[in-house]
Structure formats: C-alpha cells, structure tokens
C-alpha cells in the first residue's frame, strides 16, 4: 500500500517538474544586436521583392550592422531598423513598437488626394445617403439611374461586408453603379472577394502570384493562378464605374484586379498605390512586431505592379481648384461614362 501511495505521489509531482521545456532550445537573447540580426535574417529568408527591386540586402547589412551595439537604446535601434527597412520602399513593410511605428508612406503621400467624401455627400448624394456595415459603406443615388457605393476599407468582420447584399437589392433595377474605393488601403481579400463575386459575370482569372519558397532571393514558385468565382446570389452585370486613387492599396488593389477582369466594369481615376505583397506579421525577441511581403503578384498579362500601381481605363484627376470648389471630376467622369454606356 505504501508503495502504491509513493508511486501515486510521484506521478502527481512529475507534472510540476516542467519537463516539457527540457529539450527545447533556449530563446535568443533580447539584445539590440540579436534583434537586428533576427530582423535582417527573417527579411532575408522571406521577403519576396529583393531581386525585382534590385536591392542588395547583404550590402545593407554591412551598412547598418556596425551601427548597432549592446549600448544601443530602444529609440536608436528603432531609428536604425526603420532606416534599413526604408530601403525596401514597400508599403507592406512596417515595424510596430510600444512607442513608435515605422511605415513607408511615399506610395500615397507624394501624390494628389483626388478624393473627398464630404464633397460627394454634400454635392452629389443630394437625395440622401445611408451608412452601413459599421461605416464601411456609404451609399445613395447619384441620379435616377445611377447608384453610388463607397467602400472605405476591406478591414472588418465578414458580417459587415454582407451588407453589400442589402445595398445591391436596393440598386438592383438601376442602369448603372459607381463603386468608389478611393482611399481604401486594403484589408482582407476574403472581404474584397465577397463583394467582387456579386459583380462576376463568370469565373475569371484576375492575377498570378509567386510565393517566396526558398533561401535564395530568387526562390519563387511558378506563377499560380488567382481566380474569382461568381456568387451564388444574383450578380450585378450592368455597367459599373470603379473609382481609384493613389491610396488604393493591397487588398483594394486586388479588388481592382478582380473587377477589371469583368467586361462591364470601367476603372476611372488615378493610378493605384502599387502594393502587391500579401504581408505576414512576425515578432522579435524584444516583442516588437513587423510585417513583410511574402509573394509577388502579377496582372493576367504577367506584369508586375508592385511599386508602380494599376493604371485605370480612364486616367483622370481632380484639380486643386475643382476640389476647393466642391467638384469631384473623377466622379463626374464616371457618371458621364455610364450614361454613354446607357445610350
């Protein structure tokens, strides 16, 4: 009996010995140098655009590594890492710390805005507008024949984006639609595909992707097809004008690629931001979180648009004086284009 009690107690006590961590390699040290090394190495291993952007990542290591030592403070380390990442000129590359955030913004900051939702609400949606999906959608009628749907983002739960079903029901009998994604910087492609599927006349190839899949910078998969399937619900296949500007980025650019594959959609506005990276989040030993691009995305014509953007069918911008006067030239061009299609 004593033997049994002894064995029982031993079994119970074994759970406290934390054997589960015994064979696992210790974590890397949380030092400025180690955090630098890991960040550089993970980009070296996963980032997909070194060759395309003609970036010598090893030279960049030689340039920045000497700046980091055990004495480097958090703020100094952030500045060094941000400066290093800025060489990539990639809107999908970010560094998040408790106090500072690095983001590359030149893809939109240096370009005209070409959008003001207040002007549209005040001067174009004169018979009223509705906000839906927790602010994701603003919609109303521009004319008796043309509806307007603004999609501000593709970030959010799927339930919010299902509101498109209600909106399209209201516009079902209209002869044309303006879908405005200006200033939409992306989010989830699941959400953008959910909406695009309601406009799909048939299954369409809209892009190719190549994943980074090996240690060398040019280790990429063969081009893999991205296709859109039509929704099981009814589809809106009457004339659609899709409005874009430089802040259209990432999943929103995916949306442009999908929509322009449909023959009844015309893209109008400014060139998009050029963000085709499908980034992933990762962490450093000090808890800082970073993002990097994992794939290359190409148009159906096998053209890269990272850092370049997608050129609309009708290239038009808004002059500063027009914006000041409350005139949205891009929207007016869309209305004119749709009315042309009606006739």
């Amino acid at each position: 009996m004593r033997k049994v009690r002894f064995i029982s107690l031993s079994l119970v006590l074994m759970i406290f010995c934390s054997c589960q961590g015994l064979l696992i390699e210790p974590d890397p040290e949380n030092t400025p140098e180690k955090n630098f090394e890991i960040l550089w190495r993970e980009f070296d291993r996963y980032y997909s655009y070194f060759v395309y952007k003609n970036i010598d990542w090893y030279e960049i290591y030689n340039q920045y590594r000497p700046l980091v030592s055990t004495q480097t403070s958090d703020e100094e380390l952030f500045t060094i890492l941000s400066s290093m990442l800025d060489n990539l000129q990639d809107g999908h590359v970010n560094l998040y710390t408790p106090h500072w955030i690095y983001a590359y913004e030149a893809w939109w900051r240096d370009y005209p805005a070409n959008f003001d939702l207040d002007i549209i609400r005040r001067n174009y949606l004169t018979s009223g507008y509705t906000i839906a999906g927790g602010g994701i959608f603003t919609y109303g009628r521009l004319t008796d024949e043309i509806g307007y749907i603004q999609i501000s983002s593709f970030v959010g739960p799927e339930e919010a984006f299902l509101e498109i079903y209600t909106i399209l029901e209201e516009f079902r009998d209209l002869r044309g639609l303006v879908v405005d994604i200006r200033d939409n910087s992306g989010g989830s492609t699941k959400n953008s595909d959910l909406i695009a599927a309601r406009f799909a006349d048939q299954k369409r190839l809209y892009a190719y992707v190549k994943w980074r899949n090996g240690p060398e910078h040019d280790d990429l998969t063969e081009p893999l097809e991205l296709v859109i399937e039509p929704s099981e619900e009814w589809k809106y296949v009457k004339p659609v004008a899709l409005l874009t500007n430089r802040r259209v980025f990432s999943a929103a650019e995916d949306f442009v690629l999908v929509m322009r594959a449909f023959p009844h959609v015309t893209v109008i506005g400014d060139i998009t931001g050029g963000g085709a990276g499908n980034p992933i989040l990762r962490e450093l030993p000090n808890g800082w979180v970073y993002r990097l691009s994992r794939w290359q995305e190409l148009t159906p014509e096998m053209e890269m648009y990272e850092g370049i953007g997608l050129v609309p069918d009708v290239l038009v911008g808004i002059l500063d004086e027009d914006l000041a006067a409350g005139k949205d030239t891009i929207l007016e061009t869309a209305i004119t284009t749709l009315e042309f299609f009606f006739n």
Binding site: L11, E25, I280, V289
Partner: protein
C-alpha cells in the same frame, strides 16, 4: 393495441434476460474491454521558428476517450484526445497581447503482442506498434487581435513497447515508450500562405518519443482508475524547425465490459 403492448413487454423481457445472462457470464470471465474517460492537466511548450523566435508556454485541461482490448496475448487500443490551450511567450514582452491559441487533436490505434515475462510473470513485456495521428493548429496573436496561423498534421507508424509490473493483486504499474519509424507530415507555410507540400519522412528528420508511466488500480469488477504521467516531445526541421514538449498528468476512469 393489446397486441402492441404484448410485443413491447416481450421485448423488455428479452432485453432483461440478455442483460442477466451477460452479468452471469461476466462472473466467470475476466473483463477484456476497457472504456476510459480521461482528464487532467496538460503543460505545453512550443517553439515554432517558422512563426516566432520565442517559446510559448501554458497549461490546460485535455479531454480523452479510450478503448482498450486487454487480451492475454494481444492488446488493442484506440485513443482520441482534444486540448485547447492558451500559451504565452516565455520572455517578458512590452505588449500584453502576445499569445498563442493551441488546438490539438490526437487519434491513435495501437497493437501490442505479448513478448515475454520475468520474475514469475510479475513483469510482462509487450511489443507492437501505434498508428498515431496528430493535428496541431496554432493561432499566434501579436497585435490588434490579428493573428497568423501555423501548425502541422503528422500521421506516423510508431514502434512501441510496454512493460507491466504487477505490484499487488489490485495494482499495476506500466511503462510505455514509442517512437516513429515513418511519418507523413503536412506543415503548411506560415500564415497559411503558399503552396502546401506533404512529406514522407523518417527518424532522421522527424524526431518524436512518447513516454507514459501508468499506475492502474482496480476499484471493482467493473471499474478501474488509472493515474498517468506522459511526456511527449517532437521536433521537425522543415521548412523551419518546430519543437514541442508536453507533460500530461491524467486521471482515467475505466469501465470494464
């Protein structure tokens, strides 16, 4: 109506007769079919370099069902277990929200054959194999409630040995060790993004061993209780190394048929 009631009564009498017969039969035959319900404490450490340089640790409560056929020469066993744990990084991080939700499902079938006995049959050795299937899905939360996914599916054929030591009439201690000979592994790319390439691998690439120490006590003709300590470790190097270590302390109630 009377006909229907008579038929129902006949069914009930028949069922009672079978049950009584079964009970009667069980008086003379040792129980061979064991059904077990387990719970306990599971402590897990996981380091998935495909996802993070940090080790994530935590504990939780696993649930497990088992069936064992305890023949004189042959043993069959089937196990199904599920656990969901919330793990935290081992390092103290400035953000509070780094965490990992770890879902695991295991389904295993084992067969062991009596090999030898020692010390006047107080110690028995069984040798056999286990077909083990393990699914691990990890959701890593870094920031803004946004998460990335990592994980693996492992199906392996393991060689396994059991050592049983009869302490007394009602108590038995057993030790089981198993490790894989060949494994089929699917380890999707990090964040589930990219092509999935399944691999068949052997011990030189996929390392795993499972140790179990079991104390079994007979409560009655129909019930046993088992106290189990189990340690499982595995590591796999592709596309980047994952290491997983788990301690289980399990209490199992066994129903004998």
């Amino acid at each position: 109506m009377a006909n229907h009631i008579n038929k129902s009564r006949l069914c009930i009498y028949f069922i009672i007769l079978i049950f009584l017969q079964t009970l009667h039969a069980q008086n003379y035959r040792p129980k061979k079919n064991y059904i077990g319900l387990h719970t306990g404490v599971l402590s897990s450490s996981i380091k998935d370099e495909l996802a993070s340089p940090l080790t994530y640790k935590g504990s939780g409560v696993p649930i497990q069902l088992s069936y064992r056929f305890m023949g004189n020469k042959n043993r069959h066993s089937v196990y199904l277990s599920y656990s969901k744990l919330k793990l935290s990084p081992s390092a103290a991080l400035p953000y509070g929200q780094h965490s990992l939700d770890h879902f695991q499902v295991d389904l295993a079938y084992g067969y062991h054959h009596y090999l030898a006995s020692m010390f006047r049959e107080k110690v028995k050795i069984y040798l056999g194999g286990v077909w083990d299937n393990h699914v691990s899905v990890r959701e890593l939360y870094y920031i803004w409630n946004d998460y990335e996914i990592s994980g693996e599916l492992i199906s392996s054929l393991d060689i396994s040995a059991i050592l049983e030591f009869k302490i007394s009439k009602k108590n038995q201690l057993a030790y089981q060790l198993s490790f894989p000979i060949v494994a089929f592994i699917i380890r999707p790319p990090y964040a589930g993004k990219g092509p999935v390439i399944p691999k068949i691998t052997t011990l030189d690439r996929f390392v795993r061993f499972k140790n179990s120490l079991v104390l079994e006590h007979t409560l009655s003709r129909y019930f046993n209780v088992r106290l189990i300590y189990q340690y499982i470790y595995y590591q796999y190097p592709e596309s980047q190394r994952v290491q997983s270590g788990m301690d289980h302390f399990i209490v199992e109630i066994v129903f004998k048929l």
